[in-house]
């Protein structure tokens, strides 16, 4: 098992030309509250890159920025040589055909069966004969262990199953860039192992670049080549998982070790606790 999961390509080199996603000085605010302030990030081509960080730091938001679902306030995001701030809608759609994205909650189309959900991108973008569509869909469903569930409706699936179907759908077009938002949440240990191996195999065998968002320190260590740790709107640490384990920084140690006390505030910004309990201190 470690043979598959642990197999890493040649040592990760973070040079410019190898980056499929280049983020420079990204600034982004929601309702006046800054989520990112001066974020820089290079995501190397053909590797598994993990993005970690406390809940609410903006990991999902970062993925939405990278995929052009929302526009940055300032700074540049280059994806496969395209500037996401200046990209035309048609070009964006061409670019997205080369991407697959796994949403945090699966986001399956509720009026289509599992089979049709996975077949959806094929039907929309290709004119493949039905026999071939069937073959492709069943192969991908087999890979996530849900070929038997092909005729179920999304409402009949559990959360973990939905996520696996969504993964099958994300890879059915053979994308170059695969983006996973929290793929490990709600999976049992067996499916977890399967998904971890699948992420690794897609990456090693097909050369797919993967971006995995997760806060699961342990799972990420087994699958990622490069880890970015986000906090407070910037990258606070980057490196291979072993490098991060022994990173000389309070923040990183707190996060990797799962400690409540440290430089990363566990609480969402709030007025003084006791003051508020006692009825003093106005809410902003």
């Amino acid at each position: 098992m470690t043979g598959v999961i642990g197999a890493r390509g040649p040592t990760a080199t973070l040079n410019q030309s190898a980056a499929i996603v280049e983020i420079r000085n990204l600034n982004y605010a929601v309702n006046g509250r800054p989520i990112f302030a001066g974020l820089d990030m290079d995501i190397p081509r053909g590797r598994v890159t993990a993005v970690m960080g406390p809940s609410g730091t903006g990991k999902t938001t970062l993925l939405r920025l990278i995929t052009g679902q929302v526009a940055a306030d300032a700074g540049s995001i280059m994806v496969a040589g395209q500037d996401m701030r200046a990209v035309r809608r048609a070009d964006l759609y061409v670019l997205r055909r080369r991407m697959g994205m796994l949403f945090q909650n699966g986001a399956l189309l509720t009026d289509l069966s599992v089979f049709e959900n996975v077949a959806f991108p094929l039907r929309e973008h290709t004119d493949l004969p039905e026999r071939l569509v069937r073959q492709l869909v069943l192969t991908k469903l087999q890979a996530v262990g849900l070929r038997g569930a092909a005729e179920l409706m999304p409402g009949e699936l559990s959360g973990g199953m939905s996520r696996r179907v969504a993964l099958a759908r994300a890879i059915v077009m053979d994308p170059e860039l695969l983006i996973y938002d929290e793929p490990f949440v709600g999976l049992d240990p067996i499916s977890l192992g399967v998904i971890l191996r699948l992420i690794r195999r897609l990456n090693d065998a097909l050369g797919i670049t993967s971006i995995v968002v997760s806060h699961d320190v342990h799972q990420i260590s087994t699958v990622a080549d490069v880890v970015f740790l986000l906090s407070g709107g910037t990258v606070v640490a980057k490196g291979t998982p072993p490098q991060l384990q022994s990173y000389p920084s309070e923040i990183v140690r707190q996060f990797m070790g799962g400690l409540a006390d440290g430089p990363v505030p566990f609480h969402y910004p709030a007025p003084d606790y006791f003051g508020e309990l006692l009825g003093r201190g106005e809410r902003p």
Partner: protein
């Protein structure tokens, strides 16, 4: 002074709202020709919203027709012209009651279903997922639903009028004893094509309004359970209000 200022802001707000609805309509219309090429998707939606409202529309058609038959008979009897019942019922149904009542029922049944379906798709990231698969949700999801509703409305209004006529006939001819021959022949000679056309135009306008408001509210719903609920309610309220205004003008 304060009142004027408030009225002014609410006027501006509703104008802005109207503007974005109109812009949305233009977007739907530009996508429509291409969506028509995939008629299976539209047919599915006609079936969905049509089938959803069919039973309730048939039932109300029957009862409205029967009431119309009874009231019309009693009224016309005073002037000794019961034979005109067919004409009266037909004109009332085809020109007014058919389009308006169908539109109200359609808004309550299919319109709310449409708004909540789209709102839910927004709330569960289905629309974003489609965009990520390089599929334009407006073209793939919204336009077929819009066109489906636009096509279904006149069909449902026609069914309503037909059944209503049957109901009027049931009461007038079968129960009250109006002569069946004169009921139908008077109707055929005095209801003109322009009356029917007027009804069709009306129900087409209502169909566009209803489908537009429903998909607009659903598509731009706040992506939460509460937002979806609000979108549904707003659809009905906006539509009833708009119908009243439109019906008054037409």
């Amino acid at each position: 002074m304060k009142l004027i200022r408030e009225l002014w802001t609410s006027l501006i707000e509703s104008l802005v709202g109207l503007g974005s609805v109109v812009r949305f309509l233009l977007r739907l219309l530009t996508e429509s020709p291409r969506a028509l090429l995939r008629f299976d998707l539209i047919a599915q939606q006609i079936f969905n919203s049509g089938a959803l409202s069919l039973v309730i529309i048939m039932l109300s058609g029957l009862f409205v027709g029967m009431v119309l038959g009874l009231q019309g008979f009693q009224l016309l009897q005073r002037f000794g012209s019961e034979e005109a019942l067919g004409t009266a019922a037909a004109i009332g149904l085809v020109k007014e009651l058919g389009p308006v009542v169908t539109a109200l029922l359609f808004a309550g049944r299919a319109g709310t279903a449409l708004a909540s379906e789209l709102g839910l798709m927004r709330a569960t990231d289905q629309l974003s997922a489609m965009e990520m698969m390089a599929v334009d949700p407006i073209r793939r999801v919204v336009v077929p639903r819009f066109l489906g509703g636009v096509i279904a409305m006149p069909l449902l209004a026609a069914i309503f009028s037909l059944i209503g006529l049957f109901g009027a006939q049931l009461v007038g001819v079968q129960i009250m004893g109006v002569d069946s021959g004169s009921f139908w022949s008077q109707m055929r000679s005095s209801v003109s094509l322009s009356d029917v056309n007027e009804g069709i135009v009306k129900s087409c306008i209502f169909g566009i309004m209803c489908s537009l408001i429903a998909v607009y509210e659903g598509y731009y719903a706040t992506p939460t359970a509460e937002g979806v609920g609000r979108a549904t309610t707003r659809t009905v309220v906006t539509l009833f209000f708009d119908y009243l205004i439109t019906a008054a003008f037409l």
